[in-house]
C-alpha cells in the first residue's frame, strides 16, 4: 500500500510539486503520466527517499517513511526502484548486481536467491555476464531482479519501456505486467507515454504542473475526465485510433492491446 498526503517540493523558488496526495491499494499497479517537466519523476524520487519534500506525509504499508520533514533515508526504506537507464553497476556481473542488496546473507543463501530471481525474470544461467554484454531488455530484467532482491514493500519504475526497441516494447510490456501481477507487489510507474500507461497500469494519475489532476482507472479517465485538458491529453496520442475502440469496451482493453495497431 502506498499513501501520499500533501507532498510539496521546490528547487529554490521553483515549486515543482504542490500539495500532491494519492493512495494505492496493495497489489495495484499505478502509473503517473504527464508531459515532461510536470514533476512526475521528482515525485517518484521523493517516494524513494532520494529527494526530501518541504512538507507532506508518505506511508508505505502502514510505515511512515516521510512525516512533515522527518525523513527515513532512502537506504532504510526498503523501496525497490528501477531507473530509466537501469543504473546497473557496470563493474559487477549480473550476480554481483542482484546480490548487492543482500550481501549480509550467507553465501549459499545469496546464491539461491539470485538463481530464483533470475528464473523469475527468465534470465537463467546469466550470472557471470556483465551488463554491457546484455541487450536492453535483459538489462532491464536484471534491474528488476536487483530491485526485488531486498523484498521491497513497493516497486517504483521510471519510464520502464522507453529505453527499449519499439518492436519489443509491446511484448516486454506484457511480460512485465504478468510478472508484477504474479508477484502481487504494489508498483508505481512513471511514464510520458500514454500507451505504456494503458498497457501496464490498473490505475492512472494524470499530472500537470506539479499536481495530480485526476487519479482513476482507464475508464474513469476516458469517460469522466475532470477537465478538458485531461480529455485532450488522454486522447491525443498516436494510439488514439484504438482509444476509440477501447472506450467502447473498457473491460477488454488489455486484449485489444495484445494485438496492437500502432
Amino acid at each position: 500500500m502506498l499513501k501520499l498526503d500533501g507532498i510539496s517540493f521546490a528547487y529554490g523558488d521553483n515549486m515543482i510539486l504542490k500539495d500532491v496526495s494519492m493512495r494505492m491499494a496493495p497489489g495495484t499497479i499505478g502509473a503517473l503520466i504527464g508531459p515532461s517537466g510536470c514533476g512526475k519523476t521528482t515525485l517518484l524520487r521523493i517516494i524513494a527517499g532520494l529527494e526530501t519534500p518541504i512538507s507532506g506525509v508518505i506511508e508505505v504499508n502502514k510505515t511512515r517513511v516521510e512525516d512533515q520533514g522527518i525523513t527515513i533515508p532512502a537506504e532504510k526504506r526498503k523501496i525497490g526502484m528501477v531507473f530509466q537507464n537501469y543504473a546497473l553497476f557496470p563493474h559487477m556481473t549480473v550476480e554481483g548486481n542482484i546480490s548487492f542488496p543482500i550481501q549480509q546473507l550467507p553465501r549459499n543463501e545469496r546464491k539461491a536467491r539470485v538463481t530464483e530471481l533470475l528464473n523469475l525474470v527468465h534470465l537463467d544461467g546469466q550470472e557471470k555476464r556483465y551488463p554491457h554484454q546484455l541487450s536492453g531488455g535483459q538489462q532491464q530484467r536484471v534491474a528488476i531482479a536487483r530491485a526485488l532482491a531486498q523484498q521491497p514493500d513497493i516497486l517504483l519504475m521510471d519510464e520502464p519501456l522507453s529505453n527499449l526497441d519499439a518492436k519489443l516494447r509491446d511484448q516486454l510490456g506484457q511480460d512485465l505486467k504478468q510478472l508484477l501481477k504474479k508477484l502481487g507487489i504494489t508498483t508505481l510507474i512513471v511514464t510520458h507515454d500514454q500507451h505504456e500507461a494503458w498497457q501496464l497500469a490498473d490505475e492512472i494519475g494524470v499530472m500537470f504542473d506539479g499536481n495530480i489532476v485526476q487519479w482513476g482507472s482507464f475508464a474513469d479517465l476516458t469517460k469522466h475526465p475532470v477537465t478538458p485538458k485531461i480529455k485532450q491529453f488522454v486522447m491525443a496520442n498516436s494510439t488514439c485510433d484504438i482509444c476509440g475502440q477501447i472506450v467502447a469496451d473498457t473491460h477488454s482493453h488489455a486484449q485489444i492491446l495484445k494485438d496492437p495497431v500502432a
Binding site: R45, E75, M81, N85, A87, F89, P101, A143, R146
Partner: protein, 526 residues
Amino acid sequence: MSKKLTTRLIQTGLAILIAGPLLYLLMYWWTIDVPLWEHLIATQIFSLIRNSIILLLGVGFGTSFLGVGLAWLTYRYRFTGSRFLTGALILPLAIPAYVQGFIYLGILDVSGPLQTFMRQLYPDIGFLNARNAFGVIWVMSWVLYPYIYLLTRQAFAKLDRSQIEVARMAGYSRRRIFFTLIFPMIRPGWMAGLTLVWMETLADFGTVSLFGFSTFTTAIYKTWFDFYSLATAAQLSSILMLIAFLLLWWEKRSESHIRHDSHVTLWAPQILRGKQRFWVSLACWAALATALAVPVLQLIYWSFQAPTQTWQSLMAPLRNSLLLAVMAAAGITLLAYIQSLINYRRMDPVLDRLVPLTKLGYALPGTVVAVAILLWFSQLEQFLSHILPFEVYLTGTVLGLLGAYLIRFFSLASQSLVDSFARMEVSVNDAARTLGASPWLRFKQIIWPLTRPGALAALLLVCTEVIKELPATLLLRPFGWDTLALKVYQWTNEAMWVEAAMPALLLIITGTLPLWLFRPREEKNA
C-alpha cells in the same frame, strides 16, 4: 555539524591552501626597491618584454606549423607507419624543453659533432652559435608542438564529411573549403593548444637560462639570487602572473560556440600511393626523428661515454626525485579526490565559486609559484614562531616543495578525476541507495571501483610532472638536496653534456609512460 557546512569548510581550506599564496603574492607591492627598479627599467625591462614577445610569436608560429600540419597529415591520409605515428607524434612532450635544449646545444657545440665535421671540410668556416632567439624557438617548437597536434587532431576528428561534400557540390575549391569551413571548425582546438603552448613558453626557465636568453623567469631568478630582493622578485612574478591570467582569459573568452552532433559521418581517410605516399611518410617520419629519435639517440650515445662516478652520484638524486614524486602525487591525488567526491552531484553555489580558485596554479610558471610559496611560508614561519614557544622552520624544507607542487599540479589531478566522476552514471549512486547501501558501502563498492582509473591516471600524471619540474624545485629545495632535474640543470650549465645525458634519459623514460598510455589513436576507417 551539517553536511553542507563540512563540505564548505573542506573546500574553503583547499582553496586557501592553493590560491592563498598566489593572492598574497599579488598584494606584495608595499615595499618598492626604487634603485633596483630604476636599474631594471634602465637595463632590462624592455629587453625582457621584447624577448618574451619574440619568443611567444616564434614558438606560436613554429608549434602551429608543426602541430596543425602533422595533425592534418595523420588525420587525412594513411601511409607507411601512419598508425604508429598517430600516437608517437605526441611523445616529444615527454622531453623537458631544457633537455631538448641541451641536446641541440651539445650537437651544435663548437666541439660537437657537427662543427667538428664542418671544420674538417672547411677549416675557415668560423664558429656557429646556437645560443640565440632562433635556437630557443627551434628547441621549444619541437617540444611543445604536441599540444597543438593533440587538440587540433581532436577537432579534425569531429569534421563531418557531408559538410565538406555540401561545399564541394556548391563548387568551392579545396583551398576555399579549408579556409571557410575546416579552419573555423578547428580554430577552437588550435587556440586551446596555442594557449597551452604560450603558457609553457612563458613558464620556461631551464631552456632560456641555458641559452642565455633572458625572459621574466630568469629575471625573477636573478633579482632573487643576485640582488637578494625578494620584494622585487615578487613584483616581477605578479606581472608574469597577470600576463598568464590574461592569456587564460583570452582563451576562455574566445571559447567556441560550435556544438557538434555526436553522430558525424566520418571523413574516410585517403590511402596514399606512389610519390605522394613517399613524401608524406618522409615528412612525418622526419618530424618524429628530429623531435624524438635524434635527441634520444644522442642521449644514449652520451650515456655510454659517461664516467662510472656519474652513475654513483645519481643515486641520491634519483631517490629524492622518486620520493618527492610519490609524496606529491599521493597527497595531491588524495586532495583532488576529496574535492571531486564532495562536489559530485552537489549543487552548492558556494562550492561552485571556490572550485576555480584551486585551479589557478596550472597557468603559472614554477618560478612564480616558488616565489609565492616562499613569501607565504616565511610569513607563516614568523607568525608561528611568534605564538609558539619554539622556532618554526618551513622555508627550505620539503614542505615548501610539496606546497609548490600542490599549487602547480592540483588542477592536473583534478581534471582527470572530474572526468572519471562525470563518466559515472549519476543514477548508479541513487540505485545503490534504494538498495539499502550505507554511504561507506557505496563508496567502497560503487564509487571507488568506478573512479579508480581516474585516480591512477592522476597519480601517474602528477608523478611524471614532479620528476620533470625544474624552476620551483631549484628555488625551494632544501640546502644540498638534488633531484634528477636539478642534476641535468647543473651539469648542462657547465656544458657537461655527457654527464647530463643519463639523468635526462631517465626523465624522458618516466615522462613517456603516461603519454603512451593516453596517446591518440588512429580513427577507424569509415
